[in-house]
């Protein structure tokens, strides 16, 4: 399939789910989709179009969370990023680990660093942070403050 066919297929099949479609450059596409359609779109892109899952980036903005799922079509050199937007109090979304086994670790990382809940993840435990890291403190959030009274940060840029 060439680039136009892939994009038209996605647009036709999921026209109810797509909120915004940005064709940034020949190699970069950004598609905003509804959170409830995530599983179907990911299943189609990974299994039927046979794209490779690169990684997922979670961002905490002033308005809420955004998660971008990056898929790569290696034979075309194209990367399609699916973006879902979530509210900060309702940070819950379906996990794609049942579809793509390689997504297990990145979802665990986003769970502990941003506090997003992935429904249906087989093993949502801590991956990177220490056991004595307090619950409910998420480092990558925009409002993270230093909680450790014993830490020493006596030089450089003041936060």
């Amino acid at each position: 399939m060439n680039r136009e066919e892939i994009l038209n297929n996605i647009k036709d099949r999921f026209k109810d789910c797509i909120k915004n479609f940005v064709d940034k450059s020949p190699k970069r596409i950004y598609i905003d989709i509804e959170p409830k359609c995530l599983r179907d779109v990911v299943c189609y892109v990974f299994k039927d179009l046979q794209a490779r899952f690169n990684t997922a980036s979670g961002i905490h903005t002033r308005v809420g969370f955004e998660i971008l799922y990056h898929f790569s079509f290696d034979n075309l050199g194209l990367i399609i990023s699916l973006r879902v937007k979530l509210e900060t109090d309702k940070a819950r979304i379906d996990s794609i680990t049942p579809i793509i086994k390689g997504a297990e670790w990145i979802e665990r990382e986003m769970h502990e660093l941003l506090g997003i809940d992935f429904v249906g993840h087989p093993n949502l435990k801590r991956l990177l942070l220490a056991e004595d890291w307090p619950e409910g403190v998420y480092p990558l959030r925009a409002d993270y403050k230093e909680w450790d009274k014993n830490s020493i940060r006596d030089r450089g840029v003041k936060e």
Partner: protein, 149 residues
């Protein structure tokens, strides 16, 4: 003077501990063993266990997960032990000073005797640092002997 210190000066066994580093310093330490620098001819070997070591080489910017480990290793080490901090990260956490996962520098957890700066320090610098440390101990021992007289 104890037999242990005498032995340390002749052929120090080195134990290498990485507390969350990018591995550049670790590889430069291993480079010291390779044929170009070859510290084995001075008797310096990598010890398999801290219980056999005379020198503790630390690299890395002290990750939160590693802090209990560092304390345990230092407790298990047979005293006297020479602690050498290799690389900017173990000196003061380097550019990771503002990282949420690196709360304190190494010398607030265990006492450090020798600091070798560099990012990473070249093998020549590491060898020079360890030799300087040994000279320092020799000088201390001489001073102590003279004072006793």
């Amino acid at each position: 003077m104890s037999i242990k210190l005498k032995a340390l000066l002749k052929s120090p066994w080195v134990f290498h501990l990485s507390t969350g580093s990018c591995n550049n310093c670790d590889i430069e330490i291993l480079d010291c063993l390779t044929p170009r620098f070859d510290v084995e001819r001075f008797g310096m070997v990598l010890a398999g266990s801290i219980r056999h070591a005379d020198v503790l080489l630390c690299t890395g910017s002290v990750n939160r997960k590693c802090i209990p480990r560092i304390k345990k290793i230092y407790e298990d080490a047979p005293k006297p032990i020479l602690v050498v901090a290799v690389g900017e990260c173990s000196l003061s956490r380097g550019l990771f000073i503002h990282s949420y996962n690196c709360p304190v520098p190494l010398d607030k957890i265990i006492p450090v005797d020798v600091y070798i700066p560099g990012c990473p320090p070249k093998p020549e610098a590491i060898i020079a640092g360890v030799v300087k440390a040994i000279e320092k101990i020799k000088a201390n021992i001489k001073n102590n002997k003279q004072m006793k007289k």
